[in-house]
Amino acid sequence: MTEATSKASGVDATLRALLADVLGLGEARAAALTEDSGLFGELPEFDSMAVATVLTEMEDRLGILIDDDEIDGEIFETYGNLLAFSLRKVTD
């Protein structure tokens, strides 16, 4: 595994664990998330408080800072979008 792919799988695992914690998905449902899985608007647990909690936990667990104006609705549309955003942030 190259350094980049190992980093990517680390971010992926962190993100799945985080969503499992915040949304109470359980390991199986978190593991079953695909790039196209809908988040905000699709998972009933994913309300504005959950969005806020996810953002703060992403900062803590991925060691990143997320600026207000970086966040738009698209990031939380699908798991793939959230993962792509996270990968961009950790490699910035």
Partner: protein, 231 residues
Amino acid sequence: MWEMRVLTQTAEHILRIAPAGIPRATVLIVPPLFEEANRTRRTLVLAMRALAAEGFAAVLPDLPGHNESLVPLVEVDLARWQDALAEVISGIDGPTIIASFRGGALIDHKAKAAAWWRLAPVGGASLLRTLMRARVSADREAGVASSLEALQDEAKSGPLLLAGNHLSSAMVAQLGTSEAQGVEPLRSVGLGADGIAGTPLWLRAEPGEDAAMAEAIAADISAWSKTCGVS
């Protein structure tokens, strides 16, 4: 076998779960703050039952402005919570161990205890950021322009409504800079193999419970009490 009652001699309700007879010591539970308190309450009370089964009295006071309190949250700040806990502990007979959770660690140092125990302490800035983000997210969903910066400014001149919590300027300012203070003797644990096995229920969008985690919390506090020579 347990006595369970709501004490009302102070201004706030205190849930007390105790074994029959004289307890080994009293464990004062300082709950997480704001919404995190609701998400964890059930598991905290399960931990209190487990502590009572080990011979401890466990007390969980309502913080002014939280739970059944009649005090409006907007009149409260961290300093008032610290004083309220100091008052609760001064009314307890025998040795007391303070067990605080998450943001509870920000307000547990003014009370005099024989030992302290903290689970997953968190800085006030992180709690505040999440609350503000929830407000920004809800505002934007409703088509209202909103930002963390604008909310910070607004907080300087008056109270803010954040995710259902009316917070005073003083509360917002104190949260922004508050960190858990040094106390002794202290055992500070996180979740995981080296700490308490369990899930961060305080993050959960919908309240859950974890009986195994409650047992683990009680066992860890009991062991720490022995280590400190409390009982």
